[in-house]
Symmetry: C2
Subunit: 248 residues, 2 copies
């Protein structure tokens, strides 16, 4: 409330209370996504269709929380008419909810994809998927915490770490292609695992986006598109081409 | 401006002018994405790496436009403190820009993926990809127009039509798997085409999201998660399982 010269303490307290409520909704979204991702990985490991279906169903609660954030933010914009830092926090909250909702979709999608074939993951691909899943789960938790605590140093660390996820994803992509070539019977399950890996990588992207948003919330500046990440698999067939600037 | 009993005509005009400027930025984003998608499909058809790289580079302009929408919207929220319909239009503009930016990323990603392998698409898969690309390009144009003209009937038609895209995507997914099984030498190119098809399907998703947003902008109500869409390929290995409620 820096630019309100004589703020009414009651109004100030109310805005802060509303902002805390909005942050708590985001925190709950993060916790649910974390739980859903853990369950999705367990469903993948055990090839448990019921557990995968439960993750898919549980994603509806994440969607409902996003809707709640939207309502909270629009009400604050309409009634409080926040400015400067406060306005930025509300707008950041709206965008954070969109990113979390998307991460939730990817977790649910990974669960569904992982049980779409009855065959087990060939070779060590199942273990690689689990490892990648734990990596992005960790990044997601850290990015949400950095956002809520306005910790730009922690946000920057997440932003940097996503490059490791991309490298792991690229390696897994090649690993799966190798299994497909070795035994055509693995093509079905590996095709789905390509998408599981991609979904996990996209969860890492959302963690990066939320880390950027944490910085925006504090400083008002975006880290921009200089982010140190890209999907290396897009150029998996090329030798000497520069990596693309953006992830898809 | 329904709830401003005695509006200052100057202020009213200024807000409307700013909203028009925001809409024009969104319109320009839509036009650029349309052009980029067309170029991406041409790059795919001709297997033209330079053209694909140009699409990838051109996506930076779309990202810059998203940033401009964010700045326009935050300025309007801070200075105009809009309410009711006006507030909803600004918030919808912010969200629309996010969706358009994402669609632009998918178009650029499709171009890059499509030229990642030197081998040509097997059988009729190249033609299927082109057809799917034209479908989603059409949906994207229609959804942006519906959003800008506040045409809820047109928006609802887009929302319905996306189910066809999902069916085409599902069919293409199976087609690509068949080619991979027939000839392991096609596994590399087909793996990338799986992602091209997925990127196109995600552009269709964004068209659906923008169509929902067009309705929200006009009515203040979301179409919710009852949308008639889902990724059928997630369950391509299962026979009797219900389709998942959400796309990933």
């Amino acid at each position: 409330m820096a630019d309100a010269p004589l703020p009414d303490p009651h109004i100030v307290r109310s805005f802060d209370a509303e902002l805390s409520a909005l942050d708590r909704t985001l925190e709950e979204m993060g916790a649910r996504i974390d739980a859903n991702l853990t369950e999705a990985l367990a469903a993948l490991a055990d090839h448990d269709a019921d557990r995968a279906a439960a993750v898919s169903a549980a994603d509806a609660a994440v969607d409902a929380l996003e809707q709640r954030v939207n309502e909270q933010a629009v009400r604050m914009l309409a009634l409080r008419q926040p400015k400067a830092d406060d306005l930025r926090s509300v707008v950041a909250g709206l965008r954070c909810a969109t990113m979390l909702e998307r991460a939730g979709d990817y977790a649910a999608g990974a669960a569904r994809r992982g049980i779409a074939e009855h065959a087990p993951p060939p070779g060590r691909s199942g273990a690689s998927v689990q490892r990648m899943g734990r990596m992005v789960g960790d990044l997601m938790r850290r990015s949400v915490r950095a956002y809520l605590t306005r910790d730009t140093a922690a946000a920057h660390a997440v932003w940097q770490a996503d490059a490791e996820v991309d490298a792991v994803h690229s390696s897994l992509f090649r690993e799966l292609l190798t299994y497909m070539m070795e035994d055509p019977r693995d093509i079905g399950v590996c095709s789905h695992l390509l998408f599981v890996a991609k979904n996990l990588e996209r969860i890492g992207d959302q963690a990066t986006n939320i880390a950027e948003l944490a910085c925006y919330r504090v400083t008002g500046e975006t880290l921009g598109h200089a982010r140190p990440k890209h999907d290396l698999t897009s150029f998996a067939g090329l030798d000497d081409r520069a990596a693309p600037p953006h992830e898809t």
